[in-house]
Symmetry: C4
Subunit: 215 residues, 4 copies
């Protein structure tokens, strides 16, 4: 029974990893090849796409690391967790779309709408992630025995910080698209830096502390 | 010999998982970035694409879970099963196409044709799935010893319900595209709900009961 | 050392599986959504794309099965085999392109050129496959001890039959595109049928006999 | 603890492999189907795309082999290595873009800009790779006990040669696009040849010597 549970967990992990790896690699398809000449001007003109490509890549990478850290506590997968995970992946596979919209419109008239959609996507991801984490924690009997309450509280706290941060990013985007996108970039950099600093020793729970949780 | 059989099963599973993961992630590529402004109007205008994206995502997720549940009974893979599985995957990789057609035409003149194509695709998937399940059951000697006849009958029943449901969805689509798509959505929600309710304990056969079987 | 060799083999297999799974799933992206109305007419009008999609899917599936059957004999991977495999994958990832060309032009003026490109791609794949198989056989010390000369001869024969078949398909395409494509379809069906018939028992070497070898 | 470290390493490897496999397979999507007729002329007209497709495929294949060779020394993954690897993958998933730009513009007025962007991408990859290798070496305690200083020096040397080679390729591209691309091709062929020659015996560290290191 335990073996079957671990096999199911491994599969869920492998499937999720596949989706993360594909979503992160598909981002490049949203970069349009400038057809016109001079080419140099065309390349410089797509800077918003290059910026949103880079930002989304880093953010998905952080989310991938956090997803692993969360699943490291799981020893079995029931239907609830499977669909909570699927709901989370739904929003993650969606990321290339707001990324493309941002790349196309950041230098245009409607930059603020694009930035709000972009930051709003991560608000939605935070909500889906909270449901996912709740499905893990509610099934406490499936957890590895070494999950302390402190860890649960830490992830909960990180999820709350992430939620608020992206709600603020949506609000800021309404005032200034560049400020909103800049805040998203600052968040990504902060969580990357925090992950590197906190986990030099490679704890078993990976990167599961800090606001990086919500990606 | 048994070890070789399990290795082959694992590979078939991994290959199928890869195809499911890619198909579910490719769906986002069918979402077109609105070029025109105002952007907000453009984004609201692609609601049929967002709806069909979400519906297909959830449906593929259910199918992925069921595919695993079916393969959990298999201990060896012969040529027949390999190609029956491949035939099923053929239709699953096809799903992004009717999804895109639905997204493009649901708000247009020919919405009913698009909805019939969409529901019809799942009729075809049901047929392919029945052949796949038959290839598993016919090779009973390859099955894990714990597959009861009750389970076989349960999957057969679920396949029949799924087939009829989607045939009805095709017929309903002929009358009203939105009603047909609404039925497809109701089916997906019902199977999701059923999977979560029935499998809280994470039985070894995963999600293999209920009409969710046919996705 | 042996363990390291098997680990390398597993990785090569996993990487190749990934490429096969992605290539087979990307085929759907070449199906264009008809924009115009009536939609039904538009859908019927893309029959060449649907046909080439199906044909390429089945052919890649056969090749995937054969690739596994060949690698089942390998116990270690050196640089030569790694690049021979990579060269083979180069042509396999290329398949979506002639598939798309065929879909676009089969009903047009230049159908014969499209069919020749399509069949010609599989001639090239046969050549690459022969190099790949030669890299396996030349490194006989890496093979599992159970590879009989008969098996080597069988794969060699299958490769020769495949090469000649696709050269004939190129020639036939020069006379009639539909006849050339029909021949490619007949080959795919024959190999599928042969694989199912010969391997009901699931031998350890998978599908490695018969012309299916060359896909 | 060691087991957990190896599990994390395996996951990083699997994720990276997925990204490599997807990036290498996505290259084909950049090949545009000629719409016009005569088709033969259209096919001949996209030779720059076919050339850049082939070149990028081979180069990514070499990088994949080297990535494995580097990770073969790793026994644990901390946050620093995870993000250093992610930073490297960022540039590798980017490769389809300069590949498409090169294919579109190599026969045009601005070929030199396209070639400089192409070669410049591999300069950036070399820098990212140096950071990745440094993250591995700095965490010496995580390395397999069998990593000799000679190996570290060899990879360092290969990275330096690769960096200089691609800087030269950028400079040469400024004078002549074809010469710059020709140099990139020569580098890929040389590293392929060297990998095959040096590693006939399949050493455990894979392809980790020689300038092939930097891909």
């Amino acid at each position: 029974m335990q073996e079957a549970g671990e096999k199911r967990t491994t599969r869920l992990e492998a499937f999720s990893d596949g989706v993360f790896a594909i979503a992160i690699t598909l981002l490049v398809l949203e970069l349009r090849v400038p057809e016109e000449e001079p080419l140099l001007e065309g390349l410089l003109g797509i800077w918003p796409s290059l910026l949103s490509f880079t930002l989304s890549f880093v953010t998905i990478l952080i989310m991938w690391a956090n997803h692993h850290a969360n699943l490291a506590h799981v020893r079995n997968v029931d239907g609830r967790l499977l669909f909570a995970n699927g709901f989370l992946l739904l929003f993650i596979t969606f990321v290339p779309f707001p990324t493309a919209v941002l790349g196309r419109h950041l230098a245009g008239e409607d930059a603020r709408v694009a930035a709000m959609l972009y930051a709003g996507t991560f608000v939605a991801i935070n909500v889906a992630w909270a449901a996912f984490w709740r499905a893990i924690v509610k099934g406490r009997s499936y957890l590895a025995p070494d999950l302390p309450d402190r860890e649960v509280a830490s992830v909960n706290g990180a999820l709350a910080v992430g939620f608020v941060s992206y709600v603020v990013a949506v609000a800021v985007s309404w005032l200034s698209a560049m400020a909103g996108v800049g805040l998203c970039m600052a968040l990504a950099l902060f969580w990357t830096w925090q992950s590197i600093r906190h986990h030099g020793g490679g704890h078993d729970h990976g990167l599961a502390t800090g606001p990086a949780e919500q990606g």
